[in-house]
């Protein structure tokens, strides 16, 4: 306490060097703090909010992409066990029995009459399997080949001949 009183009281004159130092010290002013507490708190909150927002936007984006993808590539409807109360065939542009044949044979080649009937009603003619034995190499089928006047593959018909039906080939 004594020391404090001593310091505040106008004491004896200081040495010259210390006096100058005192004057220098008196010119110093406290600078503004580098960290503004309120600003820091606000920025911290905003940054946290941004991080959460990014995650939300990212997850929304992924979900939206998933949604888009699933709309574009929708799974085929499962085959119904009860296809009797049937819906119609196949594509809006070419429904039903106007459908072209698929390149791949459908799965039920050994289907019974009932199965084939219901598949035809549901899917139209695309339910028919690809004809068996078609397009097999010539000469590999030792059946009644001579009965059918199949033209040689290297002898294409002329347009005139083709377009005049009834001409024996």
């Amino acid at each position: 306490m004594q020391n404090r009183n001593d310091m505040n009281a106008a004491g004896p004159e200081l040495p010259r060097a210390l006096g100058e130092f005192e004057q220098t010290l008196l010119t110093l002013r406290p600078s503004r703090p580098a960290i503004d507490r309120d600003r820091a708190l606000f920025d911290a909150g905003a940054a946290a909010g941004r991080r959460k927002g990014r995650a939300w936007r990212l997850s929304t984006c992924v979900l939206a992409m998933g949604l888009g993808a699933s709309v574009l590539w929708r799974p085929a409807p499962p085959s119904k066990s009860d296809s009797r109360i049937a819906s119609a065939p196949a594509s809006p542009n070419n429904p039903g029995f106007d459908l072209p044949m698929p390149l791949e044979p459908p799965p039920h080649q050994d289907a019974s009459y009932v199965a084939l009937r219901d598949e035809l009603l549901n899917r139209g003619l695309s339910a028919l399997p690809r004809a068996r034995g078609w397009g097999i190499p010539r000469g590999s089928e030792p059946t009644v080949k001579s009965l059918a006047p199949s033209p040689a593959p290297d002898a294409p018909r002329s347009l005139l001949e083709l377009l005049h039906p009834g001409d024996p080939s």
């Binding site: 009797r84 819906s87 009459y113 004809a131 078609w134 006047p149 593959p153 294409p156 377009l163």
Partner: protein, 479 residues
Amino acid sequence: MNRRPVLIVVLIASLSAAATPAAPPGTQRAPEMKTLRVRAAATTRPALQYALMPDARDIEPGDAAALYLMAINAAARSMPNVATQPARGEGAAVWPGDLLDVPLDKLRLKQALDLLGNCAGAIDYLDRAARREHCDLQLNYRKTGMNTQMPYLNDIHYVGQILALRARVQVVSKDYAGAAHTLASGLALARHLQEHAPLVQHLVAIGNASIMLDRVQEWIESDGSPNVYWPLASLPQPLVDPGSVPGVERALVEGSLDLRKAAAGELPAEQRPQFWRRVQTVITIGPFRDQRDQSESSFVGAAIGAAAAYPQARQYLIARGVSAQRVDAMPADAVLGRFYAVKYLELFDETYKAWNLPYPESAAAMRQAQQEIVRERRAFPSNLLQVLLPAVRQARLQYARLDRKVALLRCVEVLRARAAADGAFPADLYAGGDLPVPNDPVTGKPFGYSLEAGVATIDATAPPENPCYHLIYRIELVR
């Protein structure tokens, strides 16, 4: 307000909806639009110069079946070599059906001609077969029942495509006489397939006729094509006659299962196990593929279902005049077998009773029959015999759709004729003019018609269950 929960719910709901399989075909709502660009054309004289069915004078006596089978044999060996050509991609084998899908202006004529050249033998057989009096494909369904084999069925559709391709090429080449001859062969093939045939064969016949009518449409759109109003009007109506189906379908089922005896309670005890085995065989290779499981658990399930149905089966027989004492003396499988057989035969009649009426008159009755089948299946899921009944309204509708196609083409030809006479399409399709305008065979009512800026629109609505069959023709007049 925090919107995140709402967004999450919406997103999850959207994803669930997207993950749900696409709407089954036939329930899609968008109508099918076809735009036809046609030129005016008066009807021809003689009216049937381009008849679309074989001329009676060209019909030869005899059976067409052998010729069709020879056509199949010839065509099968004329197709692209699947052993050396890939099924897809560059250098892929091209089949007639592939060339039917190509737009006419992009059809590669040489490719089509090469293909037809290879099939010339088959085409000759087809032309000759189509001009035979009848076609008996020797189906022995009364004896073979549901095991009846129709090995030609896939092939006959393919040879129909060969004819359709030839008609296409002939239309492109403006060979209308040749095209009419080919179309007559194709439509006669469809008519031959309808003879004493089961429903499956009729469906193939309808498909074959349909691809030929698509060629008629291409004819109508072809520049300078003759008007085929009268050839279309002179086609048989219905084009594929459904008449024989109920009898053949009944014979098919009863060829496999002695339902009459079962329903009358006359099935001897020693035959009942065989009866049930046959029921199981017929059903489990049928549409109930998931019931192929013949494990113990499936039998337990069937037993539980049968036990649940027994009291009603017993009551049903008593109500039908069988004494309670006699019913109680019967083994359980005899009671159930009789009950199931009676129910099946009743439902069969309900299913087919309106079959031979025109579709607009029969639809309501067939709709009711289908609803009754659904109710019965819920009430007696163990009665697998009900599976043998087809979706009758859906089946009958296919015949009407085919006839609608003919009717729509007739309407377009009316427009072409009216344009030839008056210089423009009429404001009212059904008023004026001397050509009879057909009603829509699906609804029994006139087609919707409008004319805007010279473009005619014919609107063929669809049954509520089959919105995808809604068809709209936009017809533009090319001058």
